[in-house]
């Protein structure tokens, strides 16, 4: 169902019915003659969560920025909900972004704005009435269990709280696609698990398609082997040996996609790099 925000936007660049949320076709990009991504091709289906793993500096964040049109590839094509963003003008991509939420590595909250204005930024930009902004911000902050922080500034929050605010900001417009760039990076294990629980809630309650980058294998496998119980409001482990069917893995190594498949295939892979990486 389209959100009020999406209804306000022109329909020309809204998600096309039945089209896949993300399609990469032979995408390559280089910076200063250093090829960061080489011939990357993959898809994200509706309601699917793709976990993107790989050593640091492997181009994971670049891939996510390409998926949101923040960077342009040197070659290849990228489709978001059927729209070829690699052929679109920047102004057209701005309209499409009302359907895409993004959580940045360090949160990237606007440090001169309070939490209410940070989370409600997208709504305020679309001139949504103040009352509605307040109620939607409160709802989004409740989702991340931070509804008492409306008037605070990002500098007054801990690192974990800032990430949760960033998640609230990304989901406030009820996007059809979520891009998480290392949402647990640099956080302690307990806070990381809380953040993963929120992404799991988004996956299992709202069935939002997503790509999630993580350096922490335990976080990735937690997402793959647990589901979110709405009634108990907590994560519950799937029966031993089972994995979430809507969650799959991709592994990037030296700019190439060296794995694209299910949890089972990843765990049982004979690839020497994957074995070493997972060990």
């Amino acid at each position: 169902m389209p959100t009020a925000l999406q209804e306000n936007a022109t329909s020309r660049f809204q998600p096309k019915e039945g089209e896949l949320p993300v399609v990469f076709e032979d995408v390559s990009i280089a910076f200063d003659q250093n090829e960061v991504l080489k011939d990357i091709s993959f898809q994200v289906k509706h309601g699917e969560t793709r976990l993107l793993l790989g050593p640091a500096g492997g181009g994971k964040s670049v891939l996510l920025k390409l998926a949101n049109g923040l960077l342009r590839p040197d070659s290849g094509r990228i489709f978001i909900f059927g729209h070829e963003i690699t052929a679109m003008h920047e102004n057209e991509i701005f309209e499409l972004r009302s359907s895409v939420g993004m959580v940045f590595q360090e949160g990237a909250l606007f440090d001169s704005m309070n939490i209410r204005d940070n989370v409600g930024f997208q709504l305020m930009e679309h001139h949504v009435p103040d009352d509605e902004v307040d109620s939607r911000v409160e709802e989004a902050l409740k989702f991340v269990e931070l509804d008492k922080t409306m008037e605070k500034f990002p500098s007054q929050l801990s690192g974990g709280m800032r990430r949760r605010v960033a998640i609230a900001r990304a989901i406030i417009a009820k996007p059809s696609l979520l891009l998480y760039d290392s949402p647990t990076g640099g956080l302690d294990p307990i806070t990381s698990t809380n953040i993963i629980a929120l992404t799991m809630k988004q996956r299992d309650v709202y069935h939002t398609s997503s790509i999630l980058i993580t350096h922490r294998l335990q976080d990735a496998f937690l997402l793959a082997t647990h589901y979110f119980d709405r009634d108990k409001n907590t994560m519950v482990a799937l029966p031993s040996g089972e994995a979430d069917r809507d969650t799959s893995f991709m592994v990037l190594h030296e700019g190439r996609l060296v794995f694209d498949g299910s949890t089972h295939d990843l765990v049982h892979s004979d690839d020497p790099f994957l074995k070493e990486y997972l060990s």
Binding site: L70, Q105, E125
Partner: protein, 259 residues
């Protein structure tokens, strides 16, 4: 310098000019496109304009004062101290008012813009803004440009006025000249081309200050060290450009109006 280094330096320089021209062009074209951030323009006008009034008043007043002091001494040699007002008003309105005001605004605001936008770039806030569907050019650059051009124009008028008053204070209080003679000469010596020249310059200078500050801010690379580098470069480049453009406008105006 080895050829390869020279080659990459030249390429980098040309690319910087191209990027600056692109940013300026996009900012101008965005003036005519929706959405327009009117409240952001007022906020920036308050920060850039109202916030700069004290330094502009101080600079203008003492520039006029020292101009009167120095020129009166020189004019005394020819027995023409009565022309102190003429010299102060012409110098302030045509040259020193616009140039010194713009240099002060550049030092205060080009650096502020470069550091603020630079910090936003290195902490991914600019990318976050784009990811939320807002064009940082429209939201951040255009309001700063509009506010700087408008406020630099009015700040220059304040500086000119206060400078002439500073000259009057020195002429009357320290040099014992007649106040009415000072103001009479200061007013009578001015022609429309002088005032026109003095009001056109701050418009161009305001554009230079904002575009250079925003360009260095938006092209910041390399963390907090990069922010510091952008801030310094913004002030240096904006100041040098102001002086160069001042020469070009002056020559152009003299060519047209003959004074």
């Amino acid at each position: 310098m080895p050829f390869a280094t020279l080659d990459s330096f030249a390429r980098k320089s040309v690319r910087s000019v191209q990027d600056y021209a692109t940013l300026s062009g996009r900012a101008i074209s965005n003036l005519f496109r929706h959405p327009r951030y009117v409240s952001d323009i007022f906020t920036q006008a308050d920060i850039i304009g109202v916030g700069s009034i004290p330094i502009v008043i101080l600079t203008g007043f003492f520039t006029g004062a020292v101009l009167a002091l120095q020129s009166a001494a020189s004019l005394a040699t020819f027995g023409a101290t009565a022309l102190t007002g003429t010299l102060v008003s012409l110098s302030m309105i045509k040259e020193l008012g616009p140039v010194l005001t713009s240099l002060m605004i550049s030092g205060r605001n080009a650096s502020g813009m470069a550091s603020e936008l630079g910090s936003m770039v290195v902490t991914e806030q600019i990318d976050a803004m784009r990811a939320l569907g807002t064009d940082p050019m429209k939201k951040l650059v255009v309001p700063r440009m509009v506010a700087t051009v408008i406020m630099n124009f009015f700040l220059t008028i304040i500086s000119d006025t206060v400078g002439i008053l500073g000259g009057a204070w020195v002429a009357v209080q320290l040099l014992g000249q007649s106040g009415s003679q000072y103001f009479h000469n200061a007013y009578q010596s001015l022609r429309y081309p002088d005032v026109f020249q003095g009001l056109v310059k701050p418009v161009f200078f305001g554009f230079v200050i904002a575009s250079v500050g925003c360009y260095f801010g938006m092209s910041t690379r390399g963390g907090t060290q990069g922010v510091g580098r952008s801030t310094t470069q913004a002030v240096v480049v904006a100041s040098v450009l102001i002086i160069i453009i001042d020469f070009l406008i002056s020559q152009f105006m003299i060519g047209i109006f003959g004074r």
